[in-house]
């Protein structure tokens, strides 16, 4: 933007950094609180570095509630959902870009249309449907209804359309079929887009609250967000305990984000492009 005075750059940096602090500090405070003893919790002034640093909240978490089970449930369900969504989306995107059949556009529009309808509109009948299928309060109920990911189909269709066709044409000449073409050429060539969809899928499933809240009753089947919220209503003012749980549930997702930051940011940018 042309020349900018040193003072202007500094002002900008300071504003950004101050704002950054507002966004980072609550996380720091979460970890700090989780390491505070119950007696020190409400003491003023609040201590940024707890004195003493105390792991009792984590100990209680592991002994008094099935936190390990919740973590495993969340990991298992999220991985299963991610795998199924990526695979089904990629295959559908392949059909929409590499196969010709009647009604292709109409079916694609159907996918797009469901993207516009909020999940909230179907949550009651979906619950009733799963009740008849006997999938309430089960892992199946958390995984199976999530199998289709219209947003993933949309993103991967865009990605597949952008691939150069020469390699694929050569493969077809050599006698490769569509299945081989899909697995050995199209998928490997679209790694960044696949990664973006996978990250979105994982985050969506890991953070999902409304659906598990509605269908899960048994504490042993709860995912982390649901477990955490049940924790907070059981131990109302045990903030160190509640935030120890929050810390445990944030760690994996922050790790995924830092590791895959590029793909996350790219995905949001891509979804913004159609606007």
């Amino acid at each position: 933007m042309g020349t900018e005075s040193k003072a202007a750059v500094w002002t900008r940096t300071i504003v950004i950094a101050a704002g950054g602090l507002v966004f980072l500090f609550p996380f720091v405070w979460m970890v700090s609180t989780s390491l505070t003893t119950a007696g020190e919790l409400f003491k003023l002034p609040p201590q940024l570095i707890p004195n003493p640093v105390d792991g009792a909240a984590y100990e209680r978490l592991f002994t008094e509630v099935p936190i390990v089970r919740w973590v495993l449930n969340s990991v298992g369900v999220s991985l299963a959902v991610t795998f199924l969504q990526v695979l089904s989306s990629a295959m559908a995107a392949y059909a929409f870009t590499r196969l010709t059949f009647r009604g292709r556009n109409a079916i694609f529009v159907l996918f797009l249309a469901t993207l516009m309808v909020p999940f909230q509109v179907m949550v009651v009948p979906l619950f009733i449907e799963l009740r008849y299928m006997g999938m309430l309060d089960s892992y199946w109920g958390l995984i199976i209804p999530e199998m289709a990911m219209p947003f993933g189909v949309f993103l991967l269709r865009q990605a597949f359309l952008g691939l150069p066709r020469e390699l694929e044409e050569a493969a077809f000449m050599d006698g490769a079929g569509h299945i081989r073409n899909f697995f050995t050429l199209v998928l490997p060539l679209s790694k960044p887009a696949i990664a973006t969809v996978a990250v979105f899928s994982f985050m969506g499933s890991w953070n999902n609250f409304l659906w598990p809240l509605i269908i899960i009753n048994s504490p042993d089947l709860m995912t982390l967000p649901l477990g955490l919220s049940s924790l907070s209503s059981r131990f109302v003012t045990d903030w160190n305990l509640v935030l120890a749980g929050a810390t445990i549930s944030v760690l994996p997702i922050v790790a995924v984000f830092l590791f895959a930051q590029r793909y996350v940011l790219q995905g949001v940018a891509m979804s913004g492009l159609k606007g």
Binding site: M1, W29, A92, V117, M147, G272, K274
Partner: protein, 294 residues
């Protein structure tokens, strides 16, 4: 492709398409259509459904509780939308031009976006706690006697709005950053030659060309705001004294606490209709302020 004919081709299309299409039809399209029918019945899942016609809709539209929930949802939206959009525009503009550590800060601002709603709600409930909360402590340092936040009917909705703005700002920032990056450099160069100041460039080049991205972010934020649920459920459960009762919270309570499947479905359809109405209105109204480059 010569071999792709007849049944072989049908099989191939089915193989690739059905893993996504079947779940879409069974778990998305069907419930959506079924929901229309459910909304016209009295059904508590214990006894067979009873057909009522539009009675549920009449009930919902004249229900004082639903009116309150709808008003509160609008209150939430009116507080949340401008804060999150203006904040996101400011941060995006500040982050856009060259700055040391821009990528790092972008990551920081985005962290709450990847954090689950339950964690964000619990965290802010603690930060805003009238008892030992950090926010009131900091306010106290500058001589302000902080309110009771989520325990006070007047401050409960602002508490939820603060937490929501904090969580969603990074997402909107990112959409706007993508928009900023698509503004061609030559426009800024031309403005420089014409002697425009930095402020004038922002006012006459950046902001007008950013309006399509702002519209997109605004529609997404609005649709999300109408469906506000997780943070309300975790922070206040609609309380205190119904001060934060919102439409989705009423849907969930009616369906899964009181067993009123029909009324809950009618409510979600009314909500959907309102969302559609607002979206269409925004798209209509956009011609007044959205500027398309070419």
């Amino acid at each position: 492709m010569v071999g792709d004919r007849g049944w072989k081709k049908v099989g191939l299309v089915a193989l690739f398409l059905l893993p996504a299409l079947i779940p879409l039809l069974v778990f998305r399209i069907f419930p959506m259509l079924a929901s229309l029918w459910v909304s016209m019945t009295k059904w508590n899942l214990l006894r067979p459904p009873e057909y009522l016609g539009i009675e549920n809709y009449v009930e919902v539209l004249t229900d004082a509780k639903f009116h309150k929930a709808l008003l509160n949802t609008l209150y939430y939206m009116v507080g949340y939308l401008p804060l999150v959009l203006v904040g996101a525009i400011a941060i995006a503009v500040l982050l856009n031009s060259k700055l040391k550590g821009a990528t790092f800060f972008r990551g920081i601002y985005f962290l709450p976006v990847v954090t689950s709603w339950v964690v964000v709600a619990l965290l802010w409930k603690w930060l805003l706690s009238p008892q030992g909360g950090m926010v009131n402590y900091v306010l106290g340092l500058v001589g302000i006697d902080g309110p009771g936040w989520w325990t006070d009917p007047n401050w409960a909705m602002p508490s939820i709005i603060i937490a929501s703005v904090w969580k969603d700002l990074g997402f909107n920032m990112l959409i706007l950053l993508a928009g900023l990056q698509s503004i061609p450099d030559h426009l800024y160069e031309a403005a420089t030659i014409d002697g425009a100041t930095r402020w004038e460039k922002l006012r006459y080049v950046t902001l007008p060309l950013l309006t399509p991205s702002i519209l997109f972010a605004m529609i997404l934020a609005m649709i999300g705001a109408f469906q506000v649920f997780d943070q309300v459920w975790v922070m206040t459960e609609g309380g205190p004294a119904g001060a934060t009762t919102v439409v989705m919270e009423q849907v969930v309570k009616n369906a899964f606490k009181y067993g009123l499947m029909g009324e809950a479905s009618a409510m979600s359809w009314v909500l959907f209709a309102i969302i559609l109405l607002f979206t269409v209105f925004q798209l209509r109204f956009q011609k007044r302020w959205v500027h398309y480059g070419d």
